[in-house]
Point group: C4
Chain length 124, copies 4
């Protein structure tokens, strides 16, 4: 059964990387992430563009999500073409050449117990 | 009044079972769950397929949500055809033979106070 | 300007009232809530039906959201026709005679720091 | 590539400004926020209207999100035409002259560890 599903453009209006962590391992480090599912049978070539409050957009950040795979990536681990600044408001547009589904999740461990939030990105 | 409502395919791009808990009872154990409502008058036969970053998909995991009933199930309690690994990124596609509504909720109690996140799954 | 907006039927698949609280006042008591906005100029007559895992649905629970008003109500404060059990999985369908918007929010204060989750309900 | 995306009217049914904080800096003060992305090439002129349980709506609160920019604003920092009361249920309608995307996020730091929630606003 073909499970290809989703949209080719998604938007996340609330981007923010908390500027500290109480966690002591990668899973518990504060992070802002996108989870992409490519349930189709063609590789998805993804381009992420990042928008700011007071400067020109950054990107594109390029990645591939292979057919029938999911990739969970953290904005705080983006490096090319430039890192995403911490403690700074941003937003993102995610473009794919094939339909995918995108969910946005943040883990904030600045204070002694972590906080989580998640929402489906907005498809356009 | 007939309240049948929803879609036959839903996607959750962010799947993750936190690898520990501070809670000491089933309600407070870290979990990743799907909540399915079948508000129609026919039983819903559900198939869940799980996608990973670096291996072939797993499943289908089969379950039934009877007419006019809701079922809240945890990925960490799936066993057939195989358990879902903890501390591993995944995503899921939920297929039903009749319209249902699916919501995704995670409770993370790794640190000394629990964190919650929830979002409607994405209908396709 | 007429801001009437929304849908007449909404679904929340994940209903759950946490069975305890560390908060010591109504705002910090664990709760599961629906927030309804009626931005139109006619009163909204609302009926909530609650679905369970293993019994017949309960309701309808009736309430009115006046024109140009919002109402945030807690499932744990429903009494008529019957209270909603705590520590029990449920789901709900919200019907209105005029378009409204419904958001679902839970505050869980079982452990020593509260947790929050929220999602737009699913419109059908 | 033109990335203009979104809708001209969005609704957030759950508005609430927690009445206290344990954080000691602006990022950790309890807040209720809207994140707006204008990925198009025309400035977005935004009007926010706030609805209450028991009084007439307030607003419009006016702001501009420039072309290719994002703005994350907090209801608790609104002042004109009047501040938004704390510890009070409200809802909001966000109107724009050009398509934008709106996400709703709350940070609640009343108790000794913060809680987060986020959801895409509802487009109409």
């Amino acid at each position: 059964m073909n499970k290809a599903a989703g949209h080719k453009r998604w938007v996340i209006a609330d981007g923010y990387i908390p500027p500290g962590s109480t966690g002591n391992s990668r899973p518990l480090v504060s992070h802002d992430a996108i989870c992409i599912l490519n349930s189709g049978d063609q590789d998805a070539h993804i381009e992420v563009t990042i928008f700011f409050a007071d400067r020109e957009p950054a990107g594109p950040y390029r990645m591939t999500v292979e057919a029938l795979r999911t990739k969970h990536v953290r904005f705080n681990e983006f490096t090319d073409p430039e890192p995403v600044p911490h403690d700074t408001d941003y937003a993102s547009v995610i473009d794919s050449n094939v339909p995918v589904v995108v969910q946005h999740t943040r883990l904030d461990s600045r204070q002694p117990a972590l906080a989580l939030m998640s929402t489906i990105a907005f498809p356009v």
